[in-house]
Symmetry: C2
Subunit: 200 residues, 2 copies
Amino acid sequence: LSKLYARQARPSPSSSNKVTVFEQEHFQGKCLEFTSECCNIQECGLDNIRSIRVESGAWVGFEHHDFQGQQFILERGEYPHWDAYSGSLSYHVERLMSLRPIYCSHQSSRMIIFEKENFMGRSVEICDDYPSLQAMGWMMPEVGSMHVQCGAFVCYQYPGYRGQQYIMECERHSGDYQHCRNWGSHCQTPQIQSIRRIQH
Amino acid sequence: LSKLYARQARPSPSSSNKVTVFEQEHFQGKCLEFTSECCNIQECGLDNIRSIRVESGAWVGFEHHDFQGQQFILERGEYPHWDAYSGSLSYHVERLMSLRPIYCSHQSSRMIIFEKENFMGRSVEICDDYPSLQAMGWMMPEVGSMHVQCGAFVCYQYPGYRGQQYIMECERHSGDYQHCRNWGSHCQTPQIQSIRRIQH
């Protein structure tokens, strides 16, 4: 009986990122390998993406080109049926049109969440995974603003890591997310009820 | 600046469980409160559930009555639009027809996953949250069987806690899940790529 690597003591927290995307399900058909961002998969010669193999790093996929629309984290592993997988995301993601690595140079992740926009109101520090913020003492179903001090997080609309996803990174926007308008181009509500760290 | 409760040092790991379900969205209309299992919400007088408020504990919801079909964890928080929330689950959950609390008397959760059915083949111990099993050293996208030693877990088909969900509890089936047929009445594949603990 062996142990999996502990999440805080991973063997190689390297900066390598590699993903292979396929035009057909089950890793068939035309494919492309990326080690850095792609702002438009059609301009790279792929009509559509139907399966994905994330070989290293963590990635963000976007509904539209140029990193617009719904966003969703892609972690190391196999996604043999894009249609089925996207059915498990929030409600209107029909295509994956652009993607980029999530830069996460810190071993630890830490951020502060605020009750109101512009870093006002009650605040608490987050440095763990919280499948239910309310169960942990944050009594409202919304977050007004966030400041990522190190690392990266995924914030979710519903408890249990469901619903709309927003990727929050220290190394983008200086880690400042003043208002839900900054969380992503599709964000319409400050509702956030679960948060977890992104680790490679 | 305060801290949220650490996940391992929650204020009251009590056994209290309470959920309120509503016939209309946004916590409107006829409602029912449960503190223990309900095997058929229609027999309790509710045609449908359109919003949910989990006030304490963690619950499992099921697609069909008598705890059959797709299962999904419901953690403390607000689910104002069932339709939107269920759109973020796996692909065919149209209704929530039965639900029960998840019993989780241990502060810690620990289980062993096995490469093959009937607890055969390579095995590793799990006692943390793993958004990508492959990133942590489990090199295949499947799990053959599982034994929960204490606590409870949710296992997911895809990385990042997406896709089909299976609730695994120490206090059911003696914690033994020999084959994917035992994981739930809808389970068709041993594909499991992320696992997390359930904590109240």
